[in-house]
Every structure is written in C-alpha cells, then in structure tokens.
C-alpha cells in the first residue's frame, strides 16, 4: 500500500507580525524529490522546520506518512516524527565517531544489527571504512555524506534538506547533489530539498515549488517552472529572462509572437537567453551594454532603442563586444510565454 509521504493543508505560521508561511498546500508522491526554492525570507526554511516539528504552525494541518503530526493546536515533537534532517553544516555530533553518529538514531536495534545497518549506510554513501573517524577528520563533502547516512539510518518516511551544500565549493556541490539524489532513489525515500540556488533546484528536483512571501507561487516539473513560469517573478527567479512589452498587434521589439487571442493589459513576453539570435550590424537597433564570459560562451546584455533590456547567450567564437550593434530576433517556434507582471 502506498502512503502519501507528506501532505500540507493551508499551513500558516506567523512570527510576531510577519506572515512567514501563508496558506501552503502541498502533497508529495511516494519517492518524489521536491526542490523548494525562493529568495531569502520567502518562508521556505520555516516551512521545512514546520514539517520537521522544530516550528509549531499556527493553523492548517501537516500529515507525515498518513499520520496527522500538527494541526495548529497539538504539535508532535520532532523526535516523534519520522522525518530525517540534513543541515548546511556543523550538525554532526563532534564528540562521536562517524559510526556513532550514524548509529545515534538506531536505538531499538541489537548491537550486531546496529553495526550491520551502520556498515550498510557507510557503503551507501561511499564511506566504507570511515566509521572510526571523528567529524573533524573529514572533508566538508565527507561530512555531508555522513550527515545524509545518519539521517537515513532510521529509515525515515521523509527526508528534509535545509540548504545542505551551501557551504561547499561549486564542483563538490554538483557531485554531492548527484550522490544525494542517487542515495534517495536507491532507498526510495521521498525528500523536500530547500535551496536558494535555482540551478540546484532544476538539477535535483522531480518537481520544484517556487515560494515567495510565504506562498507557493508555482509547483511543477523543472521544465514547466523554467519554460512556463506563471508570472515574471518565477521567470526571473528561475533564470535569466528578458521581458518584452507587447504592443496591440501582438508584436514586441524583437518581432511578432504567437498569441491565442489578445494579451492581458499588464502582460509581457518572457524569453530565455537561448531563444534569441543576434546578428551583427552597424545599423542594428540593439546595442551591447554588458558582456560576461562563462567558459562555454558569453552572457550578453543588449539594450534595444527605447530602453528594453534583452539578455542572450552566444558561443564564444563570434562574441560581440560592448558597444557593438546588431539586430535581435526570436528563435521561431520556441517558447515565448506571456506572463503577468507582478
């Protein structure tokens, strides 16, 4: 029988006078990995802590693995919820060995069973033989893998990650996020993964929830959230985007767009950088005002006559320089989405 690992209904949490979480609904499918993103202060950490039981919600309900754990009146304490937690850093018990850290949550097992389980988990996170080390003898990445193993040890119904890789360098993050996803899939454990890094969210999430001001603005697959944002906030938050005003005849400064009917009055067309083509021309209407090299190409920023900012990318061989002029066109048939302004 499959059980919904997590269900949130109308969850509200207020601090002093600030609405940190303002009516959140959410349901996780078994084995699903949900990335929860949003700018700082959007309420994503508060939401995660409410699920863990570290924060008591004001109203709404939280069901974990089918059991009601918080209804705004009674709050099941964190130690009685079946949720595993992984934090950014500093969360290993520094006075315990790696094996004792992992074994901390395994109280009801016999000594030999406990040892077997610990070895299993060390294997899972690729740290076999590290059991006798102390946390301070490990690298940052190894510590995070121990933290993952420790949280997985009691077979939680749900895993919660609070910006777990924020303190690691770029390359290590990419490797670790892959390892984490693999370990979660291997154990079939569903997870909520809080991050402020949209690249990380796109790479790791089966679905992505974008939060702002205590609400989930959009919930969908990475492709949906990236290419069909519900508004210009989600569009801008999930990646670089140009917003082009729409004239009455369904055209923009870069040409006509496909429109079903008339665009709403306050709508703009959202275009991702890779859907724009640049052609150099001394008399072009666009002037390059910014250029940043990123290895496999250039991020360019152009301004079109009356001050519309357009962002696009080119391969590095034919990159224009700041001050160059040219014409810009939309890649035909590519997603050009109309989004309301905030």
């Amino acid at each position: 029988m499959t059980v919904t690992p997590l269900r949130l209904d109308a969850v509200v949490k207020t601090y002093e006078d600030v609405l940190a979480v303002n009516g959140v609904h959410l349901e996780l499918a078994p084995g699903e990995l949900l990335a929860l993103v949003g700018p700082s202060g959007c309420g994503k950490s508060t939401l995660l802590r409410s699920i863990a039981g570290l924060v008591a919600i004001d109203t709404g309900t939280i069901h974990l693995a089918g059991a009601l754990v918080d209804d705004g009146r009674d709050h099941l304490p964190p130690e009685r919820r079946a949720a595993g937690l992984v934090f950014q850093e500093h969360a290993l018990f520094p006075h315990l060995t790696v094996a004792d850290n992992i074994g901390f949550g395994l109280r009801d097992l016999r000594t030999d069973q406990r040892q077997t389980r610990i070895d299993e988990l060390l294997e899972l996170v690729d740290l076999a033989g590290f059991g006798d080390r102390f946390p301070h003898e490990l690298s940052g990445g190894e510590r995070q893998r121990v933290a993952l193993a420790r949280a997985l040890a009691p077979s939680p119904a749900l895993m919660l990650f609070d910006e777990p890789f924020a303190s690691l360098d770029h390359n290590l993050r990419i490797k670790l996020r892959h390892d984490v996803a693999a370990a979660l899939k291997a154990t079939g454990t569903p997870a909520v993964f809080v991050t402020h890094d949209q690249q990380e969210a796109l790479a790791i999430g089966d679905r992505i929830a974008v939060m702002r001001n205590g609400r989930i603005r959009q919930l969908g697959t990475p492709a949906e959230v990236y290419h069909q944002p519900v508004d210009d906030f989600v569009a801008a938050f999930m990646g670089t985007a140009s917003f082009l005003p729409i004239a009455n005849d369904a055209t923009t400064v870069l040409g006509p767009i496909d429109l079903d009917g008339a665009a709403p009055a306050d709508a703009v067309a959202m275009v991702r950088p890779d859907d724009i083509v640049f052609t150099a021309s001394a008399t072009g209407e666009a002037e390059i005002v910014g250029a940043a090299y990123h290895g496999s190409g250039w991020h360019l920023h152009a301004r079109v006559h009356d001050g519309v900012d357009v962002y696009f990318t080119v391969g590095h061989l034919d990159a224009p320089a700041v001050g160059d002029r040219g014409t810009l066109a939309l890649t035909p048939g590519h997603c050009q989405v109309v989004v309301p302004r905030r």
Binding site: H63, E79, A83, Q88, R150
Partner: protein
C-alpha cells in the same frame, strides 16, 4: 521505530501526542519557573516583611545606632567606589595604552587581588599597620611616641582595604572595553585631529562609561554584602546591624526587617548603575577591532609606570600573602607544634562539603535552565533564566534572612499537615546554608553553562531530535558532553565562591559548624593572626583558581591582539 510503523492513509484525525510529549512541552517552562520561584520567593518574603514593621525595633534602632550606621554605610560606599574607580581605571589605562617593563604581565597580575578576600587583607592590614603592629612600633622608635600616624582602625582604613581587593572588577571591565571598541575609537579620534586629552574626554570616557558603571556597581555590591571586614575597623554599617540583631537576639523578624534596609541599598546601587550607564549598552565585541596601539614608554617614565603597578600588586596581594606565609610557618614550626591541624582538616572538610553541595545544586539547575530554551520556544524560559540569576545582585545577608523566613514558613506548613521537620531546619541546618549559597551563586554557574550551550549549534539539537532522541537523552548524550568544559568551569566558579563566602555562613551556620572563612574570621577577631594564617592561605589558594582561569583567558586574548 517510528519510521517503519505501519501507518494508513486514514489515520487518526487527532495529533496523537503522548503523556511524555506533553510533559516534555510543559516540563521545561514549568521547571524553570519553579527554579525562578525558589530564588525569588525568599527575597520576596523579606520585602513583604517591611509592610508590617515592628515599630518598636525601628524606634529603638533609630534612637541608638541607625543614624550612625547610615552615615558609615554611605561614606564607605562612596569612598570605596571612588577608590576602586580611580585605581581600576588608571591601571587599566596604563597597561592598555603603554608598553613598559612588565606591562603585559601586569595586565593579568593586577587581577590577582580578586583572590584576596577582604576579611583576610583586613586583618593582615590591622595587624601590620595597627597601633600595636610592627610598622607603628618602628615609627614611634624613629620619630618619638607622640608622632602622628594615620588611624588605621577607622573608616579610612576600611576604604583602603576594600579598594585594594575590589579595584580589579573595574580594572577588568575597563581593560576589556579598551581592548576593543573604545581603544580603536581613541585612535580614530586622534587621526581626526584630537589631542590625547581631548580624545580621552570626548571619546574614551563616554565609551568606557558603561563598563565603569558596571564595575563600580559590582564593587559597591561586594562592599554592602560585607559585615566582617568592617568590624575589624570599627565601622558600623547597616549590614553589621543585621548581623548584630540576628546573632545577638535571634529575633528573625527584626533582623530580616533590618535586612530590607540592605536590600534597599542594593536596589539603589542597581538604579545608580542604570543612570550612570545612561542609554549606552555594551556593544557586541567588534571582533577584529584593533584596540589601542600601545605606546612605548622610555626611561624614567617607564620605571614610574612599573613602580605604580608593582606597588599596588605588592600592597594588595604579595606583601599580605608573604606575611601570611611567614605566620603560618611560625605557627607550624613554633613551640606549640601543630595543634590546629585536626581542626583545620575538619573545617576544610566542612567547607568542601558545602562548596560541593552548592556546586552540584547550581550546576544541575543551570543545565536545566540553559537547556530549556533549546526545547521549548517562548518567553517563559528566558524570563525564568533571568530571574534565577538575580540572587547574585542581592547582598548575602538579605539572601540569608530571606531563606530563614522561607524555611520557617515551610516548617510551619509542614507542621500544619503533621510532617514537622526534625529539629530547626530554618535556623540550624546545612539545608538553609546550601539553599542560600545556591541562590547567591547560581549566576556565575549559569553564565558559564549558558555560554557553553551557546557554542552548541541549534542544528545539532535539531538533528538529534529528528533522529528520535528525547530532550533528556540529548541533554545527557549531546549537550552536556559538548559543553563539558563550560560545565566544569561553572562548577569551579560556584564552588570557589561558596568556599570563600563568609557573611551568609556567619548568619546561617548551625551551632558548632565552622568553615575555613568563619574560623579565619574568629581567630582574627581574637588577634590570633598566626593561627588564622593557615586557613586564610588555604582560601587564597582556592580563590586563585578562577583568577588563574581568567588570567589565562586575558593573556590568550592579548596574544591574539
């Protein structure tokens, strides 16, 4: 294990909390409030007593000693405050702003007098400089019988003694302030064109004011608590009045009413500190603040600075310690042999027992309070934590009389329900002593343990909870092991304070129960200085422990700078 428990989609529509969950949620704030009440109730009892005054007692006191006591109290407090303020801040400026031979060592050596109890320095001073002492004898030999010599057995003598043992409080706080913000601000002011005096007047002194106010407040509190030292010098303060009434008549109502007078003085000191501090608050240590760049003194000026620091250290600590060592040596090698060894060991045992019990009580209470806010959010635990620490700001005699009143009331209640305590718990048992000591010395233990807990990240606690550990398990297996150094420090600070304590012990001791401080005091009042030397030295040695801890931290801080 919770995780693998079979759960169905149609689970209960209620959050299934257990009795243990509810107990845990209510237990922390509840327990913290009980601890706070245990601290506050005795002081409250005392304060309430004044609402129904024994007019007869007050009239009699007013007609006899009270006016003189009020004058002596005021003169003593003002004199010691100015003395400690002047000595403490000048020495702090010397060692912070200048480099001269020994300036770094003096930075922490000048804290040493904290280990010298005033009742020890008091009797050494009296015996050496008093009328029959060697100094005045020599003086008379040189200059004739009738030559003037300052009267040692006077309020002036008491002020000098208190100043010498208490200035380190001002010194420490002023030095810490100079080491970071105030120091850098001085340099900024100089770079903006202010001369040294103008920079000091316009920047350093205003910035130091909160530190100086806090230091002086501690100095005044320590002064008002004392009624032993002042008696050597024939000074009669209101605190002496409490002792006289209680030990003279055992009239607890009269004594406790008199103790409220001491409480009023203490409240005035706290109010004064608030006013002196103004709206300024201790800023967060700026971390990388450069402090004062000390200037090197040359030649005569360097040696003058050395001499000033050296003389203070000599008078406040080295000379009296040497005098005690010499007396103790005479006593041990003298014709009487070592007649007091047995009693020394007995009283040392009493002192240790008392210190140990107090430390255990305070550490357990502190661990509970310091952990409470980790597991339950809300204002109750924070408020309770602040309340439990107030005992440190209440003079010992006030705490002692409050405890007497509370235990008498408890005795009456128990009597009423037929559970009378054996003997007089209130006025003659270790329970009262340990209770009063714990109220008074909880704060240093709590501060240390709270500081240690602050070093344990919230994430550690949250991780342990999410792994299914109950709060009690986390306290035992995670928090306490991680904060063990601070727990040990807290225990040592409380134990040492308890071991040195004289006023509360004198008021509350069971008949025939002696501690090292009581014994020292009694021997000294009978002018048996040689015999008092050994217990006095023992107390100083123990009191050096926290001073050494502090010095180590200071010198480490200096190395970093």
């Amino acid at each position: 294990m919770t995780a693998s428990a079979p759960v169905t989609e149609t689970g209960s529509d209620r959050v299934e909390t257990t009795a243990a969950d509810r107990a845990s949620r209510r237990g922390w704030p509840g327990g913290a409030l009980v601890l706070a009440a245990l601290v506050v109730v005795p002081i409250g009892f005392l304060a309430i007593g004044i609402l129904d005054p024994e007019t007869e007692v007050w009239r009699q006191q007013w007609d006899t000693r009270l006016p003189g006591q009020l004058v002596d109290t005021a003169v003593l407090l003002v004199g010691v405050s100015f003395g400690a303020l002047f000595l403490g801040s000048s020495l702090a400026w010397l060692v912070s702003a200048y480099r001269f031979p020994g300036s770094k060592a003096f930075g922490w050596l000048l804290v040493a007098p904290l280990a010298m109890p005033s009742y020890v320095l008091g009797f050494v001073t009296m015996s050496v400089f008093g009328f029959t002492g060697p100094v005045q004898n020599q003086w008379r030999d040189w200059f004739g019988r009738d030559t003037w010599f300052p009267e040692v057995e006077s309020i002036g003598g008491a002020i000098v003694v208190f100043t010498l043992v208490l200035y380190p409080y001002v010194f420490l706080l002023a030095r810490a302030a100079l080491a970071d913000q105030a120091g850098s601000a001085y340099n900024v002011a100089r770079s903006l064109g202010a001369g040294p005096l103008e920079a000091a007047r316009r920047v350093v002194i205003p910035m130091l004011r909160p530190a100086l106010a806090a230091g002086v407040a501690v100095v005044m509190m320590e002064t008002i608590t004392d009624f032993a030292t002042v008696q050597y010098f024939g000074v009669d303060t209101v605190t002496v009045g409490v002792f006289r009434i209680w030990r003279g008549t055992f009239d607890r109502d009269a004594a406790s009413e008199f103790a409220t007078l001491v409480l009023v003085v203490a409240l005035m000191i706290i109010g004064l500190e608030r006013i002196m501090r103004g709206r300024a608050r201790f800023g967060e240590a700026a971390g990388a603040a450069a402090g004062l760049g000390p200037r090197r003194l040359e030649g005569g000026r360097a040696w003058a600075a050395f001499a000033v620091c050296g003389i203070v250290l000599l008078l406040a600590f080295l000379a009296p310690t040497l005098q005690l060592v010499s007396w103790a040596f005479q006593e041990i090698t003298g014709p009487r042999g070592t007649p007091n060894t047995e009693r020394f060991l007995e009283f040392l045992g009493n002192s240790l027992q008392l210190a140990l019990l107090t430390a255990v009580v305070c550490v357990l209470a502190s661990i509970f309070i310091a952990n409470g806010s980790r597991f339950v959010s809300g204002r109750t635990t924070g408020l309770a934590a602040r309340l439990t620490a107030v005992g440190y700001a209440v003079p010992g005699p006030v705490v002692a009389m409050g405890v007497v009143l509370s235990l008498v009331a408890l005795d009456d209640v128990l009597e009423g329900i037929g559970l009378g305590l054996p003997g007089t718990v209130a006025t003659g048992s270790l329970v009262g002593l340990v209770y009063a000591y714990s109220i008074r010395f909880l704060a240093p233990g709590l501060n240390a343990i709270e500081a240690g807990m602050a070093q344990v990240p919230e994430e550690i606690t949250a991780s342990a909870r999410s792994l299914g550990a109950r709060p009690a398990t986390i306290v035992r297996r995670i928090h306490t092991p991680l904060a063990r150094t601070s727990v040990a420090t807290g225990a040592v600070l409380v134990a040492v304070d308890a071991l040195k304590e004289l006023p509360i012990a004198l008021l509350l001791r069971p008949i025939g129960f002696n501690t090292l401080p009581i014994w020292t005091f009694n021997l000294a009042t009978e002018s048996r200085f040689e015999q008092a030397a050994l217990p006095a030295l023992a107390i100083i040695v123990v009191a050096m422990i926290p001073v050494a801890l502090l010095s180590r931290r200071l010198s480490r801080g200096a190395e970093r700078a």
